[in-house]
Symmetry: C2
Subunit: 235 residues, 2 copies
Amino acid sequence: MPKLSAKEHCLNDLRHRILMVDLEPGADLDEVSLADQYGLSRTPLREVLQRLAGKGLVVLQANRGAKVAPMDLATMRTFFQTAPLVYANIARLAAELRTSSQLDDLKAAQSAFLAGTRARDPGATALANHRFHAVIGEMAHNPYLSAALARLLIDHTRLSQTFYRPASPAEQVLVVKASDQHDAMISAIEAQEAALVTDLTLQHWDLSRDRLERFVRPDPLPVDVISLKDKRHAV
Amino acid sequence: MPKLSAKEHCLNDLRHRILMVDLEPGADLDEVSLADQYGLSRTPLREVLQRLAGKGLVVLQANRGAKVAPMDLATMRTFFQTAPLVYANIARLAAELRTSSQLDDLKAAQSAFLAGTRARDPGATALANHRFHAVIGEMAHNPYLSAALARLLIDHTRLSQTFYRPASPAEQVLVVKASDQHDAMISAIEAQEAALVTDLTLQHWDLSRDRLERFVRPDPLPVDVISLKDKRHAV
DNA sequence: GCTCGTAGTTTTGTATACAATGTGTACGCA
DNA sequence: TGCGTACACATTGTATACAAAACTACGAGC
């Protein structure tokens, strides 16, 4: 069991809280309060913030402290525009270049994902999903595209959390479908079938996008209030 | 005139030296010597290193200091594989989304590039070229692809420096051609002709790749040493 | 003779005190 | 009353001293 230093715990926990939108996009981060919250002095805490800034999780403002990386409308637009390109290319490279130990990591991430869904734990599920796709990024052995992927995954995970609502039956079906796609991707990556993985990845993206869109643009409220009244007891 | 703090100067200068391969890939960076070299204490210097690490210019090794980001064979292979994809997509977005002030920045970078070539200053030329493509990255308004682009440009600039040899006449022709392509790209971006910019960018990439390849795989030495002797005075 | 262990040195990591910068508020003046 | 300035407070940035970890070299044991 690797014993984590206070600094490592701080880094992981802040990362976790940002991805879970426990710390909201744009939120100011106070050095002193975070420092004694994690039981370290400001010096190493500032290094943690610099590191998080390097990964794109926070942004530093000179003489004005750090804040959680914001997510405005423009960001989201760009996200939807860019994700399929990067995901597809990463997936293709992953199929070609994956090592067997990375394949084990991927299967472990998928196990965690399944466990999360079974436990109805949206946070754990989202985090495992993040890990799953991050491992595919590692498989691609491409530092350039991985830099883009890492930033995409940050916003992808945060968007999922933002729009998540306690599992409706329809939602649950989609999650199961996503899990099946994960399994298919694992098989294809293991068999190194690059074209197939690319295709599966794009299907997976479409599912994810539909799921996000469903919350951004929900079904409109019924215009006819009277008829709604009649249906009240039909639920 | 913006007065630079010692810290900003340190950041810029280290960046500069890394891009110019004055600091070679993989070189160890000693905190204390760098600290008094730039006249600041270790605390802010470490922050500078963290920032450079975030940009991908250096890599940090826990309890074992920092070193300049290495460039091994695998990196170069990946670079050539990935560059056209990112450059082309960035260029297309830049044409669509550029602002007029960014267009001014781009023209300024091209002026600097031209000045560098005229002065036969390979360092200044490479840096201006870096800036030129970085501005196109800014125009794309896409933080995800920009992250990939930034890392590509680091290695692109370093490769150019590594393989640069004092301008042969043939080499000079290629630089002029590159400059012309820059001008064409500026016009196309100004006119927001996305398809044209994408095409020009890929042509520009081909030129750059040919130039790099020329040095990686130069013409073989003449096998027939005797006949070479006869030609000695013909040069 | 080689390996392992250990002491000393060098280098990195952390805490704290202090300086500088930014921010808010209250007061004076028009 | 409105605006500007100045002062006080809060927060960030820097330096230095100290602690911990890694590297080196030397010596003992097998």
